[in-house]
Symmetry: C2
Amino acid sequence: MITDINIALKETIRDIPDFPKEGILFKDITPIFQKPLLCNKIIERIASDIKNWNVEVIAGIESRGFLMGVSLAMELDLPFVLIRKKGKLPYNTVSHKYELEYGSAEIEMHTDSFKPGQRVLIHDDLLATGGSASAAAELIQKQGGEVAGFSFLIELAFLNGSERLTPYSENISTLVAY
Amino acid sequence: MITDINIALKETIRDIPDFPKEGILFKDITPIFQKPLLCNKIIERIASDIKNWNVEVIAGIESRGFLMGVSLAMELDLPFVLIRKKGKLPYNTVSHKYELEYGSAEIEMHTDSFKPGQRVLIHDDLLATGGSASAAAELIQKQGGEVAGFSFLIELAFLNGSERLTPYSENISTLVAY
């Protein structure tokens, strides 16, 4: 379904060739934040997409997931929790290590981020291979939470990241796909 | 002036001893984001503090400055621009290197973040020694912007960071000081 917001986002997101390394066409979302009205429409749209998912907590993945995540949580009157790279969060944490194409990464959240059984929406700017999104889902489950779904601004559909999120494939909100 | 928001913030911000290293008492702001109503009050309060500063652009410093920065920009119907560590922004950038207690750091923003002469508010979670805030101010001036002022959630007043921001000392909004 093509909507006004698809068009506005495609006109706004900027292609950057060879970033962060040669051969990668990077989708630069920073121009979105030049347009507060578009930001408002994005928040409204995500809120509408997820309205039947019984979301109780919004979790944003560092650091671009922080940009819209807090506004989304405020719009929905829900708590926002931070998923950060290892070593950044000061209080007691639960962590999850996962494999990357080269090497590995580790993410953390505070142990008091939510109560067991609460339904958590994972928000990030981009769904690429799904590595960090599925790692975030495992992190939430490790801590006794239920994954209510995912919200991304952009999906790079040719990378098939949504396949790595199969148990939740009914509950993925993306605003624009390439 | 003690206000309701001072009290609510002092009750919510958590002290973490010896983080990130021994001898430092870290102020953990993550519990603020558990309270969407408090987040709304924070945004209202910052908006009120800065209302006569003719702010045209909000700049948030990575990554905790992203948390409230976007909501603040949306509330004020202003563009939000990202100040990030070197190498993170994909488009053409202007950068500024500054000295830390040990070593140095470098921050960047996109060259099309604002037009010359626009008035930019710098937002971050914490004013400590003022190193990154004054570096952000220099970055904005390098690019032809005017610094309209600063917004912090917390000031560690015993570190005298506001002295490093002297040319702008009339235009510093902080919600809680220690």
